[in-house]
């Protein structure tokens, strides 16, 4: 976990007069030691490796805090549970392409997209806050080669 991230998150906790607990530390550590998207359940499992006393309730109570801090983004991919994305710290404007074949999520950034979104928002009379592009797509390689190399090595499916 990047020390700068740790510093930011604790500054946020301080500003809100939120206490530092073993459970919160464990959850924060688990959330920001990966670049993968994760679910609440996966975060619980990972947090418990750091601190076995972490309960599901505390994970669910901590997640909104991390989202409010701006360091974690809640993502809805149309499933019946939410994903959390810790990569907005490094790439504040990234978007998601979801592979219909292997279910993998490919992140991408594009400055033209960014400019275009701002343009459209202002044309409509709004100031954009949170922007997200989601593309569901099928893998070209899979069609040709029969395998999908976009599949990432460590897979939580």
């Amino acid at each position: 976990m990047d020390p700068a991230v740790r510093e930011k998150i604790y500054a946020f906790l301080d500003a809100r007069r939120l206490r530092r607990t073993a459970q919160r530390d464990a959850i924060i550590e688990a959330a920001f030691s990966t670049t993968e998207h994760f679910t609440a359940e996966a975060l619980l499992a990972q947090s418990r490796r750091n601190e076995p006393s972490v309960s599901r309730a505390t994970v669910y109570r901590t997640l909104p805090l991390l989202v409010a801090s701006g360091l974690l983004r809640e993502m809805d991919f149309g499933q019946d549970f939410k994903y959390y994305d810790p990569n907005f710290i490094d790439k504040p404007h990234h978007n998601h392409l979801i592979c219909l074949d292997c279910n993998k999520i490919v992140e991408f950034e594009d400055e033209h997209m960014e400019v275009l979104e701002n343009c459209i928002s202002h044309r409509l009379g709004f100031s954009p806050a949170v922007k997200s592009v989601r593309i569901e797509a099928s893998c070209d390689e899979l069609k040709i080669l029969g395998i999908c190399r976009k599949r990432k090595p460590r897979d939580a499916d």
Copy 2:
């Protein structure tokens, strides 16, 4: 309800050997007689005005059929229930801007966005299927005038 839409939906039912029932008719009529986004619960209420015997279960069983037909799009706006959007028939590539002030959903189309999404997908090695851009934004007018004229007249909030 546009006769062409009615024709399409019944052609879809025929092709799948799905039966025509009073309840399905009522639900279809309710779904495609509006240009508003709606929830399953709202669709149930509206369907019952056409046919009081419609049950919640039938609405939930019919919605996936309408989505599969391509005439209705399931939308996830990050809330704990789904919205359904009947406007993809007329505007197959439209996107959504959600006003953070009045919660209204503004639909927009932009051909540059469309081109850019296709470009990015192919650059990443994918063929795009379902694309959605979602912009959460605050209303410029509200900030200046104190009111948000983007609020639509008929409001289900």
